[in-house]
Subunit: 247 residues, 2 copies
Amino acid sequence: MKSACAQQVQSLSSGKEPLPEPCAACAARVLSVCDAIDDCDLDRLAAITSVQDIARHQIFVTEGDPADHLFNVTDGTVKVYKLLPDGRQQITGFLLAGDFLGLSFLERYGCSAEAVTRVRCCRFPRKQFAALLTDFPGIERRLLGIASNELAAAQDQMVLLGRKTARERVSTFLLMLSRRAARSGGTTDPVILPMTRTDIADYLGLTVETVSRTFTQLKKGGFIELREAGIVHLSNLSALEDLSQGF
Amino acid sequence: MKSACAQQVQSLSSGKEPLPEPCAACAARVLSVCDAIDDCDLDRLAAITSVQDIARHQIFVTEGDPADHLFNVTDGTVKVYKLLPDGRQQITGFLLAGDFLGLSFLERYGCSAEAVTRVRCCRFPRKQFAALLTDFPGIERRLLGIASNELAAAQDQMVLLGRKTARERVSTFLLMLSRRAARSGGTTDPVILPMTRTDIADYLGLTVETVSRTFTQLKKGGFIELREAGIVHLSNLSALEDLSQGF
DNA sequence: CGCCATTTTGACTCTAGTCAACTGCCGTGG
DNA sequence: CCACGGCAGTTGACTAGAGTCAAAATGGCG
């Protein structure tokens, strides 16, 4: 994947615009679209990148607004959601480090995005990013792969929302978080829930009360242990997997 | 989009393998991925294409099987679905003429696909199709666009499944069919439902009974008229749109 | 320490699901 | 030609799972 080239990436990117975390050293890179660019060309990407810190609860993308930027989350958790006119909310996904936001290459954003925790991300102007695609076809390939995965995840979520019971939904959710933490090298057993019960409910198509009751039920059933706020220990992985599939 | 080139497309494609409908004349082409290839290069596509007729109720893609082929529906209706171990079914989408199947470029199919009506489609071996991508980067661009649209549709469906009432779901469904018929130049007012109530239920996350009751309710409310089997007239478009959004 | 947001719990309601019966339609075969 | 069987659709009666409303408990933070 890496070609032989002199790497003054550090100096190059700092010469242009002092990036707090140069792309070459970015922990999220291997997970994300940036990995499609060789080390020696990373300055091209760095040139159009601006690092953005987003405070908790800040809404930084609004459904229907012109889609001027794409984002790559490098730290924190983002919720992506849609609203119905009367305020009902459906969270379509949570983004963690390495996740890409703005795949829908349409004129306007299809969803809103809000920082669940403090978030750091790389922001690319859409036009300039699109221009990079011609020079680095690998990015396009990579985007297609990301889109594939998102589509598969969306289909799983449709099964969950359309056909699973509350207990199955919550189990599935906990397992998903556990697997994603494993993927990005995080702790897999005590699962960390950065989001509120309300957010979980809005993701699972339930109410806060039902989510809370289901957590209690899973706790009493010996499937999980609720530690400090936002920390869940999965006591019985395989039993939970059975639950999540309706066995 | 078209470049100047001699077009013996007819003879070329028939010289290779007699396609019943040469790509150049395919009605579904403008809607689909094939449009990314110029007329004069269509033989490259035709060479790896085989036209396939599929009987009603035939399952021609099975979740978990090696993803050997990609498909482009040129006629008929396909349901794409996932199953839970106990048989619960969630239909993730219906494919009409022009729709592409097999976007998830993973090793195995993520969903099963069954012909709802008699279906005609073009089938491409995945490996050979992938090889075309390097020669025709336009295809990749096009696929990314298709993936974008599918993702947006999936997100809308998540809102429907997670947050809408039965009445809102059915209204949304009817409007979607109407819009899609309009897109592909079909009749937009008397909407045609090629699928059964059970299929509609499995798409909307409801039961047959609820779907049936909701149709009756919409009929009594003067929103729709149920004609012969599978034909619905939308009597009051704007009222239906309000319904579908929860107003 | 005390406030406020979040979470949990309880009591009750209601939407959609379940089970069952009935209708209508179509194709098959006597 | 019509009787039969089977499937799709509709309707009814009842149930259950999740939602609603309200209040108490918990916990983080100034």
